[in-house]
């Protein structure tokens, strides 16, 4: 098994959570590039190569998208909807990584085609464990359409 070397797109508006997630991924030897988008609009600009990412090579899409739900400008569910609506991005693995455990968030995420739903634990050790499991599963075990 080889590790997927493509980038990870982390969509996260909270700088603290961003740092925690990055550390969680790094301490578990996940060496992929991590691109951070701070809101839904930034995430879509990166994925669709618009705005500041106009010159990006769109053949290189991230191996995994970690998507928060509560985001400024465009929320996570809307981002997910746009990802699934576009032919270039519809097959990308999207993992919802959020604080919420509300039933309707779960249901809506899965209905819109989320591949996985992970709730961020308060306990940092559990958080790191979650990041490790996510990396192991989505970057190593899981086979994606290339």
């Amino acid at each position: 098994m080889t590790m997927n070397k493509k980038a990870i797109l982390l969509v996260e508006d909270n700088p603290d959570d961003e740092e925690l997630t990055l550390r969680g991924l790094r301490t578990n030897n996940i060496a992929n590039d991590i691109v951070v988008a701070h809101d839904g609009v930034e995430a879509l600009e990166y994925l669709f190569g618009t705005g500041p990412h106009a010159n990006r090579n769109l053949a290189e899409q991230p191996a995994l998208i970690l998507l928060d739900l509560k985001l400024p400008r465009l929320d996570g569910l809307e981002v997910l909807r746009r990802i699934r609506a576009d032919d270039h991005t519809r097959l990308l693995p999207v993992v919802i990584l959020t604080s919420s455990k509300e039933e309707r968030d779960l249901v809506e995420s899965y209905q819109l085609g989320a591949n996985s739903y992970v709730r961020k634990p308060v306990d940092f050790n559990q958080f790191c464990e979650a990041a490790k499991q996510l990396g192991l599963y989505w970057l190593v075990l899981n086979e994606v359409v290339s």
Partner: protein
């Protein structure tokens, strides 16, 4: 409805009628028998020109009166009720035999069983025999008493229908006495009935009707609702008005004001006037009640809308709590951990300990927020109704607890076969909380016993979860079910103080209730019901 406050007084009067009627009937019957025995004409016929009450009729009244006495209330002892019904059957038998005598032109020798009738008796077919109308009325009263508590599948009380039918002829007779008229061709045996016979019949029938005030057709008249109020006003008004009008018509005719045809027209017009007035009053009462109802409905709808708005706000609030309140806690915990990891050589023992305290506190607050959210979610989600195997749930939870700490010596005693209608998810949560508590509060004892069972109390199934653990001071039971109330320090037993609040909410949403019994170091028992 406006008269609800004064309802007590007339209800007492109405409640006393069955008993009063039965005593009256017995007294009249006894008096007439004395009249026959001592040959006192007044007791037999009130006025000598009127027909006398026959001895058999008097006996019938005593029997019917006794029967009604034993049946005068729904809550009479079974022995008395049986006796009452048998006496009713006896009345029906005597009257039935008399009817047979009339129809078959027989003499069964029951007419003068007690006393010999006088030869000059007024309006009598054969000596000592009660009039056919009296016999028919007795038949209906007797059967009515016999079937006092029989109800058809459509809620019709046969006794009440018979009482009304049985009252028809005596009422007619009473009116003829008051109007001082005679049927054409009278006096003859088919139309004669003694005055006190008619009055006693009317009272007996009223007694039978009112003996079961909450059943059958009388219920509508005695109801607290607008229909009952209107009926209680309309019935006497109409009766008295029509009665007086009829009397006036006869009097007018008697003094030659008008002939029969004009008299009839006057009667018809005045009846129409009276009934129109009564109907108008009824319409007004119904309209007012309806207006009130519409207004109340409007207010209720408005309340419901306000409540829905508040609920929505609450939902938005808890959604926001769920998302936003936990994020800073993650920062607190995560960055404390980073400090511990990255600055390990710069921190001494005490520094590390303090950071651990920060981490523990943020984790506890995280759990608290989660518990609070699930508690608030409990009040918002719909309660499903399905058959739930409570015993099975309890056994599964017990097995999980055993697995969580296999070295603890806890004996679970779980009663088999308790099924209930309810929401399986919510009931599992409730049982989990109760059994977890029992598990937690027995943890300081080397051996423990935790029991789930049920018992019957006042026709209700009461479930219980019982342990022999730390218990609590029973004077604090009132604090037990309020959220965030804890009877033990966190140092002693961990917890957020939300478990029992959750259980209570689940139980109440199932239409039940919960209470606790305990003593310090003697264990605790939680009793709960789940609806009817």
């Amino acid at each position: 409805m406006e008269r609800r406050e004064s309802g007590g007084a007339w209800r007492k009067v109405v409640g006393a009628i069955p008993g009063g009627a039965s005593l009256f009937s017995i007294a009249i019957g006894a008096a007439v028998l004395v009249g026959w025995a001592a040959d006192i004409a007044f007791l037999k016929s009130v006025l000598p020109i009127w027909v006398a009450m026959k001895a058999n009729t008097a006996l019938g009244f005593i029997l019917a009166g006794l029967s009604l006495w034993f049946l005068r209330q729904e809550a009479m002892p079974p022995v008395q009720r049986r006796l009452g019904k048998s006496l009713g059957a006896a009345v029906a038998l005597v009257s039935g035999l008399t009817i047979v005598e009339y129809l078959a032109k027989l003499d069964l020798h029951i007419d003068q069983l007690i006393f010999t009738d006088s030869a000059e008796a007024v309006a009598t077919s054969s000596p000592g025999r009660m009039a056919i109308h009296t016999a028919l009325s007795f038949a209906m009263v007797g059967i009515a008493l016999r079937v006092m508590d029989v109800e058809t599948s459509r809620g019709v009380r046969l006794a009440q229908v018979l009482a009304l039918l049985g009252a028809f002829v005596p009422f007619l007779i009473l009116v003829t006495y008051v109007y001082d008229i005679q049927f054409p061709g009278a006096v003859n045996y088919t139309t004669s009935m003694a005055l006190h016979t008619a009055i006693t019949f009317l009272l007996l029938c009223a007694g039978i009707l009112l003996a079961r005030p909450r059943q059958g057709l009388i219920r509508e008249i005695l109801s607290e609702r607008v229909g009952g109020v209107v009926a209680r006003w309309m019935l006497p008004t109409t009766m008295v008005a029509l009665f007086v009008l009829g009397w006036l018509r006869l009097e007018g005719q008697a003094i030659g004001l008008y002939g029969t045809e004009v008299g009839l027209s006057v009667m018809v017009v005045s009846n129409i006037a009276v009934l129109s007035f009564v109907v108008w009053r009824m319409a007004r009462a119904l309209n007012r009640a309806d207006e009130k109802r519409v207004e109340l409905n409007r207010v209720l709808l408005q309340r419901a809308e306000e409540l829905a708005a508040v609920n929505k706000e609450l939902e938005a609030f808890s959604y926001s709590v769920s998302h936003d309140l936990r994020a800073p806690l993650r920062t607190l915990d995560g960055f404390s951990q980073m400090l511990l990891e990255d600055y390990v050589e710069k921190l001494d023992e005490e520094g590390r300990r303090r950071l651990e305290r920060i981490r523990a506190a943020s984790q506890r607050l995280g759990r608290l927020i989660d518990d609070l959210l699930s508690l608030s979610r409990l009040s918002r989600t719909e309660v499903k109704s399905e058959t739930v195997d409570l015993s099975g749930l309890a056994a599964a939870i017990a097995a999980e607890l055993h697995q969580s700490d296999p070295y603890r010596r806890v004996e679970f005693v779980i009663a088999d076969g308790h099924h209930v209608q309810g929401d399986v998810g919510l009931l599992r949560a409730a049982l989990t909380n109760l059994l977890n508590n029992a598990w937690k509060f027995t943890s300081k004892h080397p051996m423990a016993r935790i029991e789930f069972g049920a018992m019957h109390l006042n026709g209700q199934t009461v479930y219980f979860v019982k342990d022999d653990g730390a218990g609590f001071d029973p004077s604090y039971t009132n604090k037990l079910f309020a959220p965030f109330q804890r009877l033990h320090g966190t140092r002693e037993f961990d917890g957020s103080g939300i478990g029992l609040a959750t259980v209570q909410r689940i139980v109440r949403r199932h239409g039940g209730d919960i209470r606790a019994e305990a003593a310090v170091e003697k264990g605790a028992t939680f009793y709960f019901t789940l609806g009817k």
